[in-house]
Subunit: 119 residues, 2 copies
C-alpha cells in the first residue's frame, strides 16, 4: 500500500503552511483511498523538508511513495528543485520507490474540479 | 447562463500565465457545464486585470459572473485584493452580479481531486 506526500512550496506565513496540513488531513479522511499514510512536506520556509518527509514515511514502513507537487505552475521548483530533492532521498534509500506525479496545475482532474468548485 | 472568470495571481514568467490560459481552455472544453464563457484574469503582472476581465465578460452580455480565485493560500490577495478589485467593478456595473467562490486551496472538491491526480 503506497503512501502519499503532498509537497507544497512553504511560506513565511504560518497560516498558509497550516492550510496545506489541513488539506492533507482532508485528503487522509477521504473514504476509499489506497494510501497507508498521507503527509505533507515543504520545499522551503517550513518543515518537514522533502527529504525529511520522505524519510519519515520510510521510517513508518513505506516502500512506495507517491510524491505530489501542490504547485500551480511548472516553474523551476516543479521542473528541477523537487526532482532533485527526491533524487537525493532515493540515492540514500534504494529500497524506497518514489513516483513523482504531475503538479496540481497540470493535473487532468483539475478542470472538472474547478467546475465543481464554481458550480 | 453565468460566465466563469478564473482569477490567477499572474507571473513575470509568460509560460506560467499561458498555463492558466490553457487551464481555462480545458475548463471551457469540459462537457456538460453551464457557463456561457470561461475566461481568465490576473491580479497583477499579466493581463487582463480583474476589472478588465469582468468588463470583457459584461460586454459579451454576462449579467452573472462566477469569480474563482485560482490560489492555494488564503493570504491578503484572496482575503482583500481580489474582493476589492471585484467591488471596484461592481460599483461601476450595478447590472452585473459577481459571485466570489472560495479559493482553490479551500475548495471542497480539492481533496478528492488530489487523490485522483495521485492515484
Amino acid at each position: 500500500m503506497p503512501s502519499l506526500l503532498i509537497i507544497a512550496h512553504g511560506s513565511r506565513r504560518a497560516a498558509s503552511n497550516d492550510e496545506v496540513r489541513a488539506l492533507a488531513d482532508a485528503v487522509r479522511a477521504q473514504p476509499g483511498h489506497d494510501y497507508a499514510h498521507v503527509e505533507t512536506a515543504f520545499l522551503e520556509l517550513a518543515e518537514p523538508s522533502i527529504p525529511q518527509g520522505l524519510a519519515a514515511l520510510a521510517q513508518n514502513g513505506a516502500t512506495e511513495i507517491v510524491a505530489f507537487p501542490y504547485f500551480l505552475a511548472a516553474g523551476t521548483h516543479v521542473a528541477q528543485d523537487i526532482p532533485e530533492a527526491i533524487a537525493a532521498f532515493t540515492a540514500a534509500h534504494p529500497g524506497v520507490a518514489v513516483r513523482l506525479t504531475p503538479h496540481l496545475g497540470a493535473a487532468a482532474a483539475l478542470p472538472r474540479a474547478i467546475l465543481s468548485v464554481a458550480g
